[in-house]
Symmetry: D2
Subunit: 311 residues, 4 copies
C-alpha cells in the first residue's frame, strides 16, 4: 500500500518489548494489522493508551467515596456512561492509520477534537486508487431521508452503467493528473518538452473518490461520540463501514466501556418532555410493577427508571 | 462593585448606535444590567452575537433542500435540537461578566470550550467579599446522593453557629491577607517597618468562599451543555443559581432555541436498550394508539416515537 | 450566487437597528457585502462581536493594576500581542460566509478551533462552478520549496494547454454528475427510464476544484493564527488570497489589533538560542547604542530588545 | 499519600508486560514514581503514548517527499519545531498524577486543551495538607513586574512572622472544616449533638493553599506550550517548579523533541518588524559573514537566518 505502510510492516514483525504501562492484550493482537474497508481502504491501530482500568482509576480519583457503592469496575463504568460523566473516558486514547476516499475524509474531519496528519498532495503524488461502490450499494435518492439513499439497490444493468461512468471519469481525470505532473517516477520529466505542473495545482483535477490516508488520534470519549453519529442508520454507508471496523477495535480495547456504550448510547433513545408524559400515562395504564420485576434492571436502575417517568 | 463595573455603567447610560447585524431586542434590554446572584455575586450580559434566525440560517446552508419540509423556523430549530445537530447553535455566542465565589469558579471552569479573562490576584488586591450561605441553604451531607446535601436545612440555631464560624474565619484570613500586603490603599506601606508581601503569595491565605470575577464568552451550543449539567438537580446549589439566571437571559436572547432545549433536553430523558425493551412491553400492553392521539405530538414526532420504541 | 445569498441581500437592504453593543463602524460598512476571491469565490461578513475596546476591557479585568502603565488602548494591545497574552483576543469573534474550491476548503478546515456549517452535497445539488487558475498562476513544482510552485509562470502556450485540460475534465465530470442525478430541476427525473442516483453517491465524481460554501465563525485569536499561517509566503496561492481579503476585513474591524499583528507577528521573526548568540556577537561588534537611539523603539521595548539579546 | 497512591504503588511493583507499542525506555523507568514538588506536592507519570519516532512517523505521512531532505530523525524534528509544524507533536500524549496547591491548580487549569480528573471535595474529605513557602521564597511585590515578586527574599525574621501567620490561619480554617464535617473517620458524627454539614459547604472554609490532586492528560504539542509559559521567568515560582519537573520527564520521554524545544522555543526569542530593521542595520554594520561561518548553523539554517534579516 502506502510507503508508510512498509515501515509499519517492520513494526508488525518486531518482537514485543517490556512495558509497565497498562496493556490491553486483545488490542495488542490488532496492532499494525490492516483491516480492509471498502475497495482500497483500511483501518489499523498504530498506538493506544489506557484500558478499562484507566477509566475506573480516573473516576475513583474524582469521586472518591462516591464510587464505593458500585460493585466492581463494570458497575462503575456503566454508571459513568449512563450519567454522561465523560471526563474519565478522555483518559484513554487511540491512534489509527486510515486509508479512505476524500469524500469520506471530508465528513470525518468535521469531528474537530482529534489530531490528524494527512498525506499532502502538495508534497506527494497520490496513487491511482479511487473508490468504486459495489453494485449492491448503488441506490436512488431516498424520498423520506433527504440526505440519504434508498435501501433497495438499483438494478444490475443500471449499476453497471453507473460504475462504467464513474470508472471512466476517474481514469480520465487521473490520466490528466499524471500528464500535468509529467513525472517519470524519478522526479524527472516524462516528456522534457512539457512543464512539470506544481503538484498543488495538478491535484485540483482529482475527484472526491480518490483515496487519501491519515494518522488520526482521538480520546475515547470523543471517539464514542464519533461512533454514535457515524454508526447511525442515517450516516452515509461509506463512512459507516469505517465506524463499524473501529467499533470492533474499541470492543477489543475497552470491552466494559464498549458494552456500556452499546446499552446506553447505541441501543438507547431520548424522549422529550411531551413524550415522557405520554409514556407515563401509557405505563401507568399498563401497571409498571410486573414489568419491572422481569426486566433484569438492578435496584438502582429501577429507581432511576421510575424517576425518569415521574412514577 | 468592581472597577470594571464602573466603566460598564457608562456603557449602560450611552445612547444606542445603529447596526446592520442581527439584533435580539429582549436581550438588548438586558445589556450591562446587573442580575444579582447569591450574596455578592452577579451575572450581566456584555455582548452577544446571533439570534434564533442565525441558527436557522446556518442550518439552511448545511441542509439546503432538507430543511424545506420544516414549516417555519420553530419547527426547524426543534428538529435540530431533537436530533442533536449541534453546529448551527455554535453560530451564536454570548459574553458575560460574572462575579462568583472561587469554589463556584472552580466547578465552572471545568467547561473548557469557552474564553475566560479572570481578575488576577497576582496583579490586583481582592476586595473583602466572601460568600456566606443563607441559613435555609445549610444542610447535612446527603446519604443517597454522595456528592450533595440533604433537602431539609439544619435548624436555625445550628445554622447560626455554622455561619458564625464561617464568617469569623473569613474575616480572620482576610485580615491576615491585608496585614501581609501591608498596603495603605495607595501602594505605599501601611506600616513602613514591615515588608509588602507579594500579592501572589499573600492570596494563598484567602479562602474558597472569596469572590472573584471574570468575563466569560461561550457559544450557544456549549452554553446549553453547561446549563444542562448545571441546572440539574444534582448540581451544587451555589452554581445552579447562576445557571438559572443565565437560563433566563438565554430565553430572552433565543426564545425558540430555549423552548426546544426545555422540551428535548431539560425536560427529556434517555433510556437504555434494556429500558426500551421494558417500555415497549409496557406500552404494547397498554395499547399506544389512544394515547398517541391525545399526546399533542405531530405526525413526524409520532413516527419517531414509535420508531424509538420499535413499535 | 447561492440561494442563501439571496436572503442575505435582503439583509443588505434592510435598515439599521439600534443596539447598545460595541460597534465597529468600518466593519458595519462591510456587512453582507461580497468580496470576490478567485474566479467564483467570495468572502463576506455576516456578523461580528467585539472591537478593539473589547480586547482592552478583557485585559483590564485580568491584569488590573498591571495595565495602568500602558498609555492608552494602543499601547496595551501592542503589549498583549508582543507577549502573546492571547485570551483577551478571544473575546472578539467574526462570522464569515465563504465560497471556495473544495481543495482550499480541505486546507482551511485543518484549523479546528472554529464553527462551520457547510453546504452538504448529500442534501443539495452542487452548482456547475469550478476553479480555473488564471494563466499567470500556473507554475512548475518548486525545487527548493517541496510543497509549492515556482515564482515564474509557465508560458502562455503551456498555460493554455493546461487550462484546456482542466476545463475539459471539469465539464465532463460535472456532466456525468448531472447524468447520474437525472434531475430535471424540479426533483423529477429528466429521463424517466433511468434511476436518480442518490446525491451522496453522484457527488463522488466531482473534482476538488468544484466550489463549495460555508459559514465560518471564529474568534479573533484563532483567526490571527489562521492568518499568520495562510498569509505566509509558503501557503498555497489559492488560500492566501482568501487570507488577504480577510486580513483587510480584520483591519477595518479591529485596527489596533491588526497593526500590532502586522508589527509583531506578520513582520516579525523568531530566532533560536544559537541564532541569538550569533546576533549578540554581531550586535556587540557593531555597538548597539547608536542604532537603538534611532530605532523608534520606546524605552520599554528597548529594554526588552536588549534583554532578548542578553546585552 | 492519597488513596489512589496506594493502588499505584502496586502498579510500581508489578512485573512488566510485553507490548508491541513504541516504548520510551527512559520514561518507563519513571512510571508511577513520585517526583516531590514543594512541601507536599508531587508529579508522577501514569501513562504515555508515542516517542520521538511517532513524531517523525506522522510528519513523514504528511510531508512525504518533503521530509527526505532531512538527514535523520533529529533534523526533521528540529525542522518541525523551527517552523511550528505542530500537528506531529500532537501524536504523543502523557498522563500525569499531580498533587498541587489549589492556587496553583487555578493557574494550571487555564490551559484548556487537556483532560482532567480532580479530587472532588463534594465527595471526599480533603486531607490536612497546605502549602507553606520556604523562607527563601517569600519576597515583596516586584516594582517592575506588576504580577510578580522581587528576587531577593525578605529577612529571616520577617519570613518567620509571615509563615507563623500562614500556618496559624491554615490550621484554624482546617480545624473549623473538621468541626463542620463532624465526621469521626468512619462516617458517623464525632459529636452526635451536632449536624454533619455537607462536604460541598464545609469546604468553602478551606484556603487556596490547601493541596488537591488530579490526573492530567495532555498531548505533547499542548504540553510544550504549557511549559513555554510556565517555565518563563515571569511565571509564579510555585507553578514553575512543577513545570521544571515535567520538563525533566519530557526530556527523558522524547529527547530529540526536547532538545529542539530548548533551542528554538525556550532559548529563542521573537523580534518585531521594527526590531528586525534595527538588527539588520546593526548586522550589516558588523558584516555577517565572519560570524555566520563560526556560528555552527547548518547551510539551511544559515539561509533562513539571512532571510529573516532580509540580508
Amino acid at each position: 500500500l502506502s510507503q508508510s505502510h512498509d515501515d509499519l510492516s517492520a513494526l508488525l514483525a518486531a518482537p514485543p518489548q517490556p512495558t509497565r504501562r497498562a496493556c490491553a492484550p486483545a488490542l495488542e493482537e490488532q496492532l499494525y494489522r490492516v483491516n480492509p474497508v471498502l475497495d482500497h481502504g483500511f483501518v489499523r491501530v498504530i498506538d493506544y493508551m489506557g484500558t478499562d482500568e484507566a477509566i475506573v482509576q480516573a473516576a475513583r480519583v474524582s469521586y472518591g467515596a462516591g464510587t464505593k457503592q458500585h460493585t466492581g469496575d463494570r458497575g462503575l463504568i456503566r454508571y459513568l456512561m449512563r450519567h454522561r460523566h465523560t471526563s474519565p473516558f478522555e483518559m484513554c486514547a487511540i491512534k489509527l492509520h486510515v486509508k479512505l476516499p476524500i469524500f469520506v475524509a471530508r465528513q470525518w474531519i468535521r469531528h474537530r477534537t482529534a489530531s490528524v496528519n494527512e498525506v499532502s498532495a502538495r508534497y506527494s503524488i497520490l496513487e491511482h486508487e479511487f473508490y468504486l461502490p459495489s453494485p449492491t450499494h448503488l441506490a436512488e435518492q431516498s424520498s423520506d431521508n433527504k440526505q440519504g439513499r434508498k435501501e433497495e439497490a438499483i438494478s444490475a444493468a443500471q449499476a453497471a452503467e453507473v460504475l462504467a461512468l464513474l470508472e471512466r471519469d476517474a481514469r480520465h481525470t487521473y490520466a490528466t493528473y499524471e500528464h500535468l505532473l509529467n513525472d517519470d517516477g524519478s522526479g524527472d520529466p516524462a516528456d522534457p518538452a512539457r512543464p512539470q505542473l506544481a503538484r498543488e495545482l495538478a491535484r485540483i483535477n482529482l475527484s472526491l473518490g480518490m483515496y487519501t490516508e491519515w494518522y488520526w488520534k482521538i480520546d475515547l470519549h470523543n471517539l464514542l461520540h464519533f461512533l454514535s453519529l457515524r454508526l447511525h442508520a442515517h450516516a452515509q454507508y461509506e463512512i459507516r463501514v469505517y465506524a463499524e471496523v473501529i467499533g470492533q477495535l474499541v470492543s477489543a480495547w475497552v470491552p466494559l466501556a464498549w458494552e456500556a456504550f452499546e446499552d446506553y448510547r447505541l441501543g438507547g433513545a431520548s424522549f422529550s418532555k411531551q413524550e415522557l408524559a405520554l409514556l407515563r400515562a401509557l405505563v401507568e395504564r399498563a401497571g409498571p410493577e410486573a414489568g419491572l420485576g422481569a426486566s433484569g434492571l438492578g435496584a438502582r436502575e429501577r429507581k432511576e427508571f421510575r424517576d425518569k417517568l415521574g412514577l
